[in-house]
Symmetry: C2
């Protein structure tokens, strides 16, 4: 699994390439909140620039619950993209 955050996209692309080079066949990309668009970009950068045979096997969305101080709750949406070679 690669958790995509706010760093430059190429960092996550490189992390995925390293995993594929180690023999992984599938990688789960996961991001929350404002990093979600970064996550989709990473998937398509991988496909367009590195692995033209890359398949997007599954896309899931949902939300995580985070407890804040004072019993307040916040919901943060997430996306999970499963890519495979």
């Amino acid at each position: 699994m690669v958790i995509v955050g706010k760093k430059p996209k190429m960092r996550y692309v490189t992390a995925c390439i390293t995993l594929f080079n180690k023999g992984e066949k599938e990688i789960l990309l996961r991001a929350r909140g404002r990093s979600i668009n970064n996550c989709i970009d990473v998937a398509f950068l991988l496909k367009k620039s590195f692995y033209s045979d890359l398949k997007i096997k599954n896309i899931a969305i949902g939300y995580d619950e985070a407890e804040l101080e004072g019993n307040r709750r916040r919901y943060v949406s997430f996306i999970e993209i499963l890519v495979s070679r």
Copy 2:
């Protein structure tokens, strides 16, 4: 179709409720770039707060190509979420 942008989420939620009240059974939510997380939030707000029977029928991701001046191209990722009652 409801195109989700950067306005407060409740605007888009209200737009969807209006469509459902007019008899629509399915709504396609679409967003690009940094509005993508807003779009996922809208889908779950609808489900959690208004229509507990709401189904997320399909999720698609992709990228749009935009031509900038000087023949430069930019890619913007998008998401499409199909919700139905």
